[in-house]
Symmetry: C2
Subunit: 460 residues, 2 copies
């Protein structure tokens, strides 16, 4: 009899536990649905993105446009009802684009101008430019093999395309981008006077794509520009017919002393564990030749939208939830580092960080930089996203702005949207508001806000 | 000793079987990889789609542009090396768009023109048009409730939006589209003189979206036009301020006698079972106000590209593989029916049919209209698509052109691409070549060709 009582008690405890779990799950499912409903029927975020794109175009670190973007997003965070909003000081490079012109001159073929764009942090040419012969190479091995005798005094033209066979568009980009980031330094070692780099994109079009160029210490800094993929194909063809052709390259960009800018932060204070933080964001700076819609205005507004949705629906997270617009991701990453340093100094428990910096097309999932049981539990959250056809929950990277938090033990998460056309726009004049589809953007906003809500709700 | 011999023999048979399966799988994996490599590095299909969009714009059934599209795709099939190419006669409606103008005139608010487009197969107004008051309704229930006394002599304005909360964009469309297909007939029953229908799209913009309107028998045929979603919002606002406003509607479209057109068919003859057929296609007709890039030029070229890839790679299918450009999907579906009827008459074994008519963005999977073990085996093919991040293999519909084959016992398959923005373009002037991303299109082409290859290879 006694045993039966104990058995009944155990069963009732188990049943209560299962019921409460299932009730919790039902509550969570319902809240996720309400987050999607809100995101899909409100156009605040889409309008904010339009404003950011159209009124703060050119917001490279240290620019007046970047200062405007800081002020606009600060005000946007206040408007959506963040409990507190502030700016965090960040030292940033101050680089200015100049006049740009690139003309091919061939005795055999005539002359033609190429669409170019200076690479970020590149030194400039003199105002009258450089006139020089050109040598085409495809990687640093080939450069080494050709050697100083064939390179010295010339412009090196790096023309390795992104590999279209790589299914992941980021892999194609990664396989081509070292020409842009390190090409100038490598070519300089062999006496080159400048580099022209094929744009790192799967697109075949006339848009040159910029991006940062990092000089190694102790090399002579030489000017670096990107040429469109169609321009690169043309230059390569012309070189086959006339290897003696010259290029007249003018790019009067310049580097000025570092100046101060800001990360923009807004938060909802946690009700139970206010010293545990979710840091959700994107980077506010963007390359000056486009509007920075997909890279990464969308990621920034997504974080603001999370705050708006939580406030609108009355979701009161246990932990403090922050929207962070990081400054200077594109050049030297000082915004992300400054954020992590202050968190460490203040003893903040940085619980989870989520970065959206892979575009804002239809969300396909998230990548989790976590281990073991915690990773498994996070991946298991995918069941809540089945009704939204968001299926790809995998182990993977977070993002460059949040990566300095890793040393604090933070779980890093990256948004994974559909991205096959991402590099068609990335870092080019083609990265405009018009490329963003309202509905796709809203779905991504809902997905990110839901994920943060669920992690907090289930204490994962 | 004897038993051990038998055992050894059995084990060796099993091992050989497993090995051969695994060798078969390896061969299949390798071929799929080669299909993707070819599709991703060749721009023939993308150029063909550009030609079709830019040179056969306006290819509604019965039009001169449709005849040009028939001839262009016939030649394209010959060029890519189809073993035989022919045309199949199809009777089609002959409807001509006329002059279109829609002006709101309000004594209180002034006057304003709305962007409209006549619905396909709609009757026209007289050249001087209709001037009438307007009554706004949202569904047929409301129309019934309002009744003849409030509807008679007026223009009925159907203004039910697509439900943005529905995650599947096709579900949102399906929930709104009966206003377009049946609105004129329903309104006519209550004495309306014309209908203006809110475009069936999730977009909020100025593009009106056309599509077919079907009159019931025995109703008075009244003119039917679509208005853009922004136009619909505006008209609704104006009606709130001035319910007495009038609309002056002119749409001089007209219906002419049916004429002949063609399905375009090209095939690779099967090496082992030539009387078993794969029918792979899209529809060649497209609404005249756009270029028919996503609906459905892309689906047509995808089928031609399958033939090109098979020929280029030397893939020799056991069964006969056909590319079929169906005529007249958009109006009355006679192309699909004619194809199935001829197949039946000739005793063709229509093994599998695949239709691509949901756009040509990044492929996400396929939907299979099949049952039981065969369905399970087809879905299991998804394992071959894991490296390409194509994960969504589900039970579901094929497509309207291939649906008449169902009665022949054919397994029907639909391509399932990413489609959140599909209805932003669908049936509007915004359905242009520029909306198609080369890489996304190529991935879809590879996916379809691979699926057909695999089904044939494994005899599924």
């Amino acid at each position: 009899m006694h045993n039966i009582k104990i058995m009944k008690y155990i069963i009732s405890v188990i049943m209560t536990f299962i019921l409460s779990l299932s009730l919790l799950s039902q509550e969570a499912e319902k809240t996720v649905r309400s987050i999607f409903d809100e995101a899909l029927t409100d156009r605040t975020a889409f309008s904010q993105l339009e404003y950011l794109c159209k009124n703060t175009k050119g917001r490279i670190p240290g620019s007046a446009a970047a200062a405007e973007a800081v002020e606009y997003t600060r005000q946007a965070l206040i408007k959506v009802g963040a409990d507190s909003v502030w700016l965090q000081k960040v030292s940033v490079p101050h680089w200015e684009r100049g006049f740009e012109k690139c003309s091919i001159v061939s005795a055999k073929l005539g002359s033609e101008d190429l669409n170019i764009t200076a690479l970020g942090l590149s030194v400039g040419t003199a105002p009258e430019g450089i006139i020089s012969k050109v040598i085409e190479v495809h990687d640093f091995e080939e450069l080494k093999k050709i050697g100083r005798k064939n390179v010295e005094g010339k412009i090196v033209f790096f023309n390795r395309p992104a590999d279209d066979k790589l299914i992941n568009s980021f892999a194609g980009y990664a396989g081509a981008v070292n020409q842009r980031t390190q090409g100038a330094s490598e070519a300089s070692k062999y006496g080159a006077v400048a580099v022209i780099v094929r744009s790192a994109t799967q697109a075949l079009d006339n848009f040159p794509h910029t991006g940062v160029n990092s000089y190694e210490e102790n090399v002579t800094k030489i000017p670096a520009v990107a040429v469109s993929t169609i321009g690169a194909e043309m230059l390569s063809q012309w070189l086959k017919s006339d290897s003696e052709l010259t290029i007249h390259l003018i790019s009067t960009c310049r580097n000025l002393p570092d100046i101060w800018s800001y990360n923009v932060i807004g938060e909802i204070r946690g009700t139970q564990k206010p010293n545990e933080y979710f840091s959700v964001g994107g980077h506010l700076d963007a390359w000056d030749i486009g509007e920075g819609a997909i890279d990464d205005g969308g990621g920034c507004i997504q974080a603001i939208e999370m705050i708006r949705i939580f406030k609108k629906l009355g979701i009161r997270p246990k932990r403090t939830v922050r929207a962070v617009m990081f400054m200077n991701e594109e050049m030297t990453g000082t915004g992300g580092r400054a954020y992590a340093e202050e968190a460490k100094r203040k003893g903040e428990i940085q619980y989870v960080a989520l970065e959206a910096d892979r575009g804002v097309m239809t969300p396909r999932g998230f990548s989790f930089d976590a281990e073991g049981e915690r990773l498994q539990k996070l991946i298991a959250l995918s069941s809540f996203f089945v009704p939204y056809n968001i299926r790809d929950f995998d182990k993977g990277g977070g993002g460059s702005d949040i990566s300095p938090l890793k040393s604090l033990g933070t779980v890093l998460i990256g948004s994974v949207p559909e991205a096959q056309r991402y590099f068609y726009y990335h870092h080019s004049a083609n990265d405009t508001f018009e490329q963003v589809n309202c509905r796709e953007f809203q779905l991504g906003n809902a997905a990110s806000a839901s994920l943060i809500y669920l992690i907090d709700f289930f204490n994962l």
